[in-house]
């Protein structure tokens, strides 16, 4: 075992995380967002210690609350809403009335970052866009997440979801099989990828602010984020004038690397260099192919078809090429490796009890990320934020609630607390 391996087991141990400081402590983020692109951006900052105030329109709040797999709600919350909204404070605030705008501006004065994903220009129309906010707080870093950008021919009026970005960027055109239609990724990759890019730009802008004191506007289109991920697609189009084709499950850059069917599931076989290619050829009984030409995928397919995934992985380790099983949620949920790394982790939530979640991917030895609590009902933290942070009195908050400027959850699944819970 290398020294680093030994160090890593101790330095990254999930058990020690609660006693360690947080990397983004002291950063306050205001989120005015729905569904995934904006919420996932703020979620990744919140996982590393930023205080995220999620502003929702009462009483229904973020419409993602009602996106439920097979229509299933658990303790009044959709399992699809949870992973996007960890460690947040939830306030219900209507930005349409003047008093609502003023409350938002007051919150922005005390914040470092705003994340929004409304249609381009909406926040500005409401009088709470970047130009209005920076009057009150020149240091504000304002991430405007959208489908097509804040300016340009497609910016006005067009809405966008994850799969819009998958579609218009060219991403789907290169995913799937050549003799089949383009394949939409079955998960919301066009939101998450762009959300992570937005969070990265926010951290870069905060680093810049440390030097200058100035905030800035970050305009990120989710389609443009996906365009950036398409590796050799663009230089290929530029050089040949041709579309890169869908190549099914074989990686055209590293053939015959790809996904193959086994007796009991699927396995990824990977050969990254000549050494691995030679080892695979030997294992397949095809040493004549050890030279410049890769082993044909059909040979690998035949080899895998007669074995279990476990056998292929074991044989690869012995033979000197690489392989890994194709895993789904069920295997991940029970995987001792992911549990030991805190990548699948239990959360002890005051409202929901134990909830198992994905923990943060990057493990930091000194200031690690963590899931502290789960998503809350609409307006759950109104008193803490409007009372505690803005110093409103109970009477003032009641009056604002009476005029429906601030508010709490609708009495429907997705918005409300679990039955029998004690409300704040």
């Amino acid at each position: 075992m290398s020294g680093f391996r030994e160090f890593a087991e101790k330095a990254f141990a999930p058990g020690a995380i609660p006693g360690k400081p947080e990397a983004l402590a002291g950063i306050r983020v205001l989120e005015v967002a729905t569904r995934i692109f904006g919420p996932a951006t703020a979620d990744s900052l919140g996982l590393f210690g930023a205080e995220v105030i999620k502003v929702e329109l009462p009483p229904r709040g973020d419409l993602m609350r009602y996106v439920a797999p097979e229509g299933f709600f658990w303790k009044e919350v959709s399992p699809a809403f949870l992973p996007l909204n960890r460690n947040k404070l939830h306030v219900g605030l209507d930005l349409h009335p003047a008093e609502g705008k003023e409350l938002f501006l007051a919150l922005a004065e005390k914040s470092d970052v705003v994340v929004e994903n409304l249609r381009a220009g909406t926040m500005d129309e409401w009088g709470v866009g970047y130009l209005q906010l920076r009057e009150r707080n020149p240091g504000i870093v304002y991430a405007a997440n959208s489908g097509f950008g804040q300016w340009g021919p497609f910016s006005a009026g067009r809405a966008s979801y994850d799969a819009t970005a998958q579609a218009v960027s060219g991403f789907s055109a290169v995913t799937g099989f050549p003799d089949q239609p383009p394949m939409k990724a079955g998960f919301w990759v066009g939101d998450y990828t762009a959300a992570l890019m937005s969070a990265i730009a926010i951290l870069a802008a905060l680093a810049a602010r440390r030097k200058t004191g100035e905030g800035q506007l970050i305009d990120l289109s989710q389609a443009e984020a996906m365009i950036r991920t398409l590796d050799w697609t663009w230089p290929y189009a530029g050089l040949t004038g041709k579309d890169r084709m869908r190549n099914g499950n074989v990686d055209p850059s590293y053939p015959p690397s790809g996904i193959y069917r086994c007796r009991d599931g699927f396995v990824a076989v990977s050969v990254r260099d000549a050494d691995e290619a030679a080892c695979l050829a030997r294992e397949l009984g095809a040493p004549e192919l050890r030279g410049s030409r890769p082993v044909p995928p059909e040979r690998v397919a035949a080899y895998c078809a007669s074995k279990t995934t476990g056998e292929v992985v074991r044989r690869a380790e012995e033979a000197g090429f690489s392989a890994a099983p194709v895993r789904g949620g069920k295997e991940q949920y029970r995987d001792p490796h992911l549990r030991a790394r805190g990548t699948v982790c239990p959360v002890d939530d005051p409202l929901l009890g134990r909830v198992d979640e994905y923990g943060p991917a990057p493990k930091l030895s000194e200031s690690p990320g963590r899931v502290k609590w789960c998503a809350k009902p609409v307006g759950w933290d109104n008193d803490r934020v409007f009372g505690g942070l803005l110093g409103l009195s109970r009477t003032e908050m009641e009056e604002l609630a009476g005029r429906k400027v601030i508010g709490k959850w609708a009495d429907i699944p997705g918005a409300r607390p679990p039955k029998g819970s004690v409300t704040p």
């Binding site: 290169v174 762009a194 069917r261 895993r327």
Partner: protein
């Protein structure tokens, strides 16, 4: 055009970025990632925000240079490498000997961030491992990239990290692709399907850059560096939606549903006259709008489709898809977009949430004016490789815009500059090292 739109354009247009300050100016990143695309991405992202990136290649150049889909090589370098070879200095050092290792270590100790995709044992042999570096330089931020991560029961598995391994373990392909039909032998495409680009490696690089930036923020506050461990498998896993919470709350795992979605329908690609287009209506109000748009308002009250729950039953998704395609089959994607926009522009709130967008082939994306106007592509006139079409940094920023600055160069092109500029060596010392073969050039 509103005042804000106009302002945003002037303030963030990438063609006006030159001359503006950079967010990460003054930060030095050393990239030790031969053969590893995710590591290149992590370094590229930091470089786009202004960090000074020094890429160290082994003698003969990074093996990733020789990866060449369709055999296309430009002066010995394939397109995958060229797509990420931006904003770097290229150094090639022979680290077999003690002199080369010493130079590499000096470079590492002059850096703020190390991005490493080599196994720990190899880094130790090179004198460039985290534990020995931090002894001399506790502020260092060290990003370690691998498939499984640096700790945990599977950390010792002897794999060479790659996109396909990370994708497989992430859970992404498991929920991409067509399901098998009952009672018949599965066709090749009825299988977990890889994302066609190197999305696993790319997202590994993105989370790596995020981890580094979070660690740098902590360093600004405390002066302390740290190690960042990132498993490529786990990077893309973060995007696999509610895999874990659904298992935990319902005991259910997500399965492949082709171009459908288990939580929302319609949310799919539909056939249209000129290809495919995306069509979605997330909630009851939007669904009603969509049924008006296709001229079938009565279907909003059809029990098969009247609630979100009934709409996501697979047989109802199939039935609704054929109804939608009856309408879309004779229309182009642009006509569908116009029909949706003319209806939803009169609505607001949940009823306006009908969304569409053509499934573009790459050349179709390149033809759309939005992306060109917004500077999404760089047409680099590269001294070494000629004209290259590349994706630009996607962010438009008013204060410290990210930007593409320089393209690919042959291995070792910046040896002299780096030795003299960063390590403070003399021209004579440099010549001796070059003659001794410690610094290498490919040309």
């Amino acid at each position: 055009m509103t005042g804000f739109t106009d302002w945003a354009r002037k303030a963030t247009d990438p063609s006006l970025a030159a001359g503006k300050p950079e967010a990460l100016a003054g930060l030095r990143v050393l990239e030790l990632c031969p053969g590893h695309f995710g590591g290149m991405v992590a370094a590229s992202i930091l470089g786009e925000f202004g960090a000074e990136v020094v890429k160290v290649e082994p003698p003969g150049g990074d093996p990733l240079r020789r990866v060449a889909p369709e055999g296309i090589l430009l002066r010995g370098t394939g397109l995958p490498f060229l797509s990420e070879a931006r904003n770097r200095r290229f150094v090639s050092i022979d680290t077999e000997g003690v002199t080369g290792r010493g130079l590499l270590r000096r470079l590492a100790l002059s850096s703020d961030v190390i991005v490493a995709a080599e196994p720990p044992g190899r880094l130790e042999a090179m004198g460039c491992d985290y534990l020995s570096l931090r002894e001399e330089r506790p502020q260092i931020v060290f990003l370690a990239l691998s498939t499984y991560g640096s700790f945990g029961p599977d950390a010792d598995r002897p794999v060479r990290d790659s996109d396909i391994l990370c994708q497989a373990l992430s859970g992404a392909p498991y929920i991409v692709g067509e399901p098998e039909r009952e009672g018949s032998r599965p066709l090749p495409h009825e299988a977990p399907t890889r994302l066609g680009n190197w999305h696993g490696a790319f997202v590994q690089g993105l989370w790596g850059a995020f981890g580094v930036l979070a660690a740098l923020r902590f360093r600004e506050e405390t002066g302390m560096g740290q190690a960042v461990d990132l498993a490529g498998a786990e990077a893309l896993m973060m995007f696999a939606d509610y895999n874990i919470t659904w298992m935990h709350t319902a005991g259910k795992a997500r399965e492949r549903v082709g171009n459908f979605d288990p939580a929302v329908f319609p949310y799919t690609y539909i056939r249209c006259r000129d290809g495919y287009t995306f069509l979605a209506a997330y909630n009851d109000e939007a669904f009603e709008s969509l049924m008006h748009i296709i001229g079938r308002p009565e279907l909003a009250r059809d029990p098969r489709f009247s609630t979100p729950k009934s709409r996501v039953a697979l047989e109802n998704e199939r039935a609704l898809l054929s109804i939608l395609e009856e309408w879309s089959g004779g229309r182009t994607a642009d006509e569908i977009l116009s029909a949706v926009e003319s209806y939803t522009s009169k609505k607001s709130g949940p009823g306006a949430a009908v969304v569409t967008g053509r499934v573009n082939r790459p050349l179709e994306t390149l033809e759309e004016e939005n992306w060109t106007e917004r500077g999404c592509f760089v047409r680099a006139d590269d001294p070494a490789c000629g004209k290259l079409l590349l994706a630009a940094p996607p962010w438009k920023m008013s204060g410290t815009p990210a930007r593409w600055k320089t393209g690919c160069k042959p291995p070792g092109s910046d040896n002299r500059d780096v030795f003299r500029g960063i390590l403070g060596g003399t021209e004579e010392e440099y010549r001796r090292l070059e003659e001794a073969g410690v610094f290498r050039h490919s040309e």
